[in-house]
Point group: C2
Chain length 336, copies 2
């Protein structure tokens, strides 16, 4: 083939471009987890994924069975100084206060309206659930989705000033993608509200609504002016925490995960359930030990306590991620 | 390029083979629904799928939102002379009778043990639920999966002598595949037991466990000899029928379907919920009007009654499939 010199140059440029592109592709292929330091945690993840995806390996798992479940609060996004859904509930109380004059004298609403966060949380989980139900109930599923969407795209965290959806963990986003690139189906299994997570889980985590499992209040189908709606009722339907997590997994997924990721004692039963299956299994705890870049807490924390789970992880050889040592960065570099 | 004559012949043969292959591919592409006659029902399905998948069309729906939900009993497989899960429950009563001497004198168990099907069903849905709970409860989720798997691979229908999994509708299998080939995610949304369908839905329908929605009994996580198990409890958790279907859809899928397929009044609210969404929507009823090849029943049938739904379908222009006229075959040609 004869080419004028211009043609040769073009090909040379094209060739250089292709080489650069291929290098970039190779770099990406060789480093699917760029925010992870090359320590034991990262090595254990990669070793597991390579083992279960290698055709002919005795540990090979067919793609349909590559189910991975992730806790949300403290595992995929932060959870301090309290679960972000509590901030959402507080904001809802403030937004709806004019329709509920009785809240002025009724706890925990009164504390929220006074801006007394500690008082607002004094009722513990029970008080929070009451607040969530009082502020969510009566709305339709579509109205609630809109309220959550408005909140997640505008509300800011009180100490960092970031959008809550910017307080997700960059290394975990990479891990989710790495697993999906290797044929895994990724699920959220969280104590948080299922309808609170779904409106943004797809955009932020790449996890579609049908792969979100969480706590829920009851809903009821009815015709309003001839139009079918689902109305949210002030009654708990399911608590997807602790012993509830394996129950929620069975209800929604119907298949035991082969890998589970958590950060607190609330995830312990999910990790037990996952690792008790036959064949290769993987369990991982994110350990919050980075007071400088995030928060440091474990055995004594009122939110996200990791006590019994830390002991079981050690006894069973589960992977424990040190946020301080294993992660190069915590949050995504720029606003999403 | 120069070729010896043998080479030319090889190429001619190869070329012929390729042409034949391409024709086969084209035939398949041009006829994704070979068991459907070319009537209004088939035309409406194809028109809808082409409309929502054509890029640039005002009716284009992104793949993530192409959710299609299917009833099971009477829509994907037969349901006469009674729901197949009732036969399963009867078989369980017989298998467990020696451990329950009290059943000899207690209805509906006594009727089942006498072989009196009519008496066994006299208690209606309530009696059936009681039977299901009495025979399923106490087992672990894994034990139950094994029991269902054993049954579905061996038990035969009393009048046709076929395996129950052979009594699925060939045209609906093609429809499921056609939708999936066009980027739809297919779900079962059935009044039947979720754990009764999951063990075989993937093999028979190509629908994985996490895309099966159904009725359920409660389960409980516990450690048995240090091993985590999920135990089935004798208490109803959720009834996925009528008004329950949109609730189950929201709980499991979290997104409104754009297409829904049913055959009875139990599916009416699912079809209402689906078609009430904005943008292109599709609703279809399978009408059992083929006494020669299957069964003929609608407004007066105790099982799978289609009365109000038939009127609403007419009023709303939903597609109604005549099994007699629209389907070339009912069941798959040979044992699966």
């Amino acid at each position: 083939m004869h080419l004028p010199s211009g043609g040769r140059l073009s090909i040379a440029i094209l060739s250089f471009g292709l080489t650069a592109l291929l290098s970039a592709v190779e770099a990406k292929a060789s480093d699917p987890l760029p925010s992870w330091n090359d320590g034991a945690a990262r090595k254990s993840i990669v070793a597991f994924v390579e083992k279960v995806t290698r055709p002919g390996s005795p540990d090979f798992v067919p793609p349909a069975e590559r189910i991975a479940t992730f806790d949300n609060d403290g595992c995929l996004w932060a959870e301090q100084p309290m679960y972000f859904q509590a901030f959402f509930a507080f904001d809802r109380v403030k937004a709806l206060a004019s329709q509920h004059p009785e809240w002025k004298d009724k706890e925990p609403f009164a504390s929220v309206l006074r801006g007394d966060m500690k008082g607002a949380l004094a009722g513990g989980e029970h008080g929070l659930v009451e607040m969530v139900m009082a502020t969510h109930a009566g709305t339709t599923s579509e109205e609630f989705e809109q309220v959550v969407t408005d909140w997640i795209t505008t509300a800011k965290h009180p100490t960092t000033g970031k959008l809550y959806s910017e307080m997700v963990y960059q290394p975990m986003l990479e891990l989710l993608q790495y697993l999906r690139d290797n044929g895994f189906k990724t699920f959220i299994v969280s104590g948080g509200g299922i309808e609170f997570m779904r409106p943004w889980a797809e955009r932020v985590y790449g996890i579609p609504p049908e792969q979100v499992v969480g706590s829920s209040i009851q809903t009821k189908f009815e015709l309003r002016d001839g139009k079918p709606v689902l109305v949210r009722l002030p009654a708990v339907n399911f608590v997807d925490d602790k012993e509830g997590k394996p129950v929620g997994i069975q209800m929604h997924i119907g298949r035991r995960p082969i890998a589970a990721f958590g950060n607190s004692d609330g995830d312990l039963q999910m990790l037990q359930w996952t690792t008790a299956g036959s064949g290769p299994r993987f369990a991982l705890y994110v350990h919050h030990d980075d007071a400088a870049r995030e928060w440091a807490y474990d055995r004594e924390s009122p939110v996200g306590r990791l006590d019994k789970g830390l002991d079981e992880a050690k006894a069973n050889g589960w992977t424990v991620v040190s946020m301080r040592n294993d992660w190069k960065t915590i949050f995504p570099p720029s606003a999403r």
